[in-house]
């Protein structure tokens, strides 16, 4: 909080006086990420070009601007990126909700129902990571949900949510040498995450 407060009070105002707390803490304090502006500028600002007094003043101002942008903008950039990711995740969840409702409706017309435990396992998996990408979702004849993700190179992950905390997986991994690794099995949710990591397929599933 002290760091942010310090950053907020930095300004272009030549008559700026740093808060007393900063002066008291001193340059060796753990909170002096933004130490006394005057001293910091001398430490990191580029050497201004030689010239008259007015041009030197403008160069110093530009340097302060650069310093503030480098310090402040990364925070804004991170916040903006997090907001975009949260929006994308919400859109994925809403798409899945709509798809599941459609599948339930189709199932009831065909005289069977979605396995509730499978649906719970599906959501547990989707919510285990905040940045899971939207995959394709189908309802199998046994009432279980199955999700698949594919990319343009033929890499493929298929997950059937069995409803007992287990997931049946199918993985196709295309290697740079032209070979394809194909595996299938059953594992827990955590085990599936390890499988995906082992096959270096996290980008297929996670943004």
């Amino acid at each position: 909080m002290t760091m942010l407060a310090t950053a907020d009070v930095m300004s272009f105002d030549p008559s700026y006086q740093e808060p007393a707390i900063i002066r008291e803490v001193g340059s060796d304090s753990a909170f002096s990420v933004f130490p006394a502006p005057e001293r910091r500028w001398k430490a990191v600002a580029p050497v201004p070009p030689q010239g008259d007094d007015e041009s030197s003043d403008l160069s110093a101002l530009s340097s302060l601007t650069d310093f503030i942008v480098r310090v402040l903008e990364p925070h804004r950039a991170v916040s903006a990126e997090l907001a975009e990711r949260a929006k994308a995740t919400k859109a994925v969840y809403q798409a899945y909700l709509a798809r599941i409702e459609t599948l339930k409706s189709d199932a009831s017309l065909d005289g069977f129902s979605m396995n509730k435990a499978s649906e719970c396992d599906f959501w547990s998996f989707i919510k285990s990571s905040p940045y899971v990408k939207k995959g394709r979702l189908v309802l199998m004849d046994n009432g279980n949900l199955r999700a698949t993700w594919k990319d343009e190179t033929g890499n493929h992950i298929g997950l059937q949510f069995l409803g007992n905390g287990s997931i049946q997986y199918v993985i196709f991994r295309h290697r740079p040498n032209g070979r394809v690794s194909r595996v299938a099995g059953c594992d827990t949710l955590k085990g599936i995450e390890r499988q995906i990591q082992a096959f270096d397929l996290k980008p297929l599933l996670y943004a």
Binding site: R99, D106, V138, M140, N142, G158, V170, F172, A184
Partner: protein
């Protein structure tokens, strides 16, 4: 009924229900044996070139006409090439084949002479069946409407 393998250059179609299709892609689970039907010897398909003297639209129309199971408007007939299926899957399952298996008329249904089966498949609830199903689904080359338009 005959058990002759279909020529590699020929094509088959399989009806897939709407809940097995998402974003225009058919899920591989449509190509597994049904665990609750141990008497099944293969996954049912229809042989397009059985009606060799007709164009594809007419072949599909004839298959739709005698198709016995219920279909939904949003379902599709998925088309695959016989040779592509066998060669693509052979790396994982040598026994796979596509065999002609025509159905005689019975109980209010006309004969279905183009009926065939994808044979040699593992038990439907096995992990290998899941893998083979996804491999077969990779061979789909077109989706056709469930009903004549």
């Amino acid at each position: 009924m005959t058990d002759d393998p279909l020529p590699n250059e020929d094509h088959i179609v399989r009806y897939v229900k709407p809940s097995s299709i998402d974003d225009g892609e058919v899920d591989g689970s449509e190509f597994r044996l049904r665990p609750h039907r141990p008497d099944e010897t293969g996954v049912s398909v229809n042989w397009l070139e059985y009606y060799r003297d007709q164009d594809k639209a007419a072949q599909l129309s004839e298959i739709r006409r005698v198709y016995r199971l219920s279909r939904k408007k949003n379902g599709r007939f998925a088309e695959l090439n016989v040779g592509a299926v066998c060669s693509h899957v052979a790396a994982e399952l040598e026994e796979i084949g596509v065999m002609h298996s025509s159905l005689d008329a019975k109980e209010g249904f006309e004969a279905d002479p183009s009926h065939s089966e994808i044979t040699g498949l593992p038990p439907g609830d096995s992990d290998q069946a899941a893998l083979i199903g996804d491999l077969i689904a990779e061979c789909i080359i077109a989706l056709h409407p469930a009903f004549d338009e």
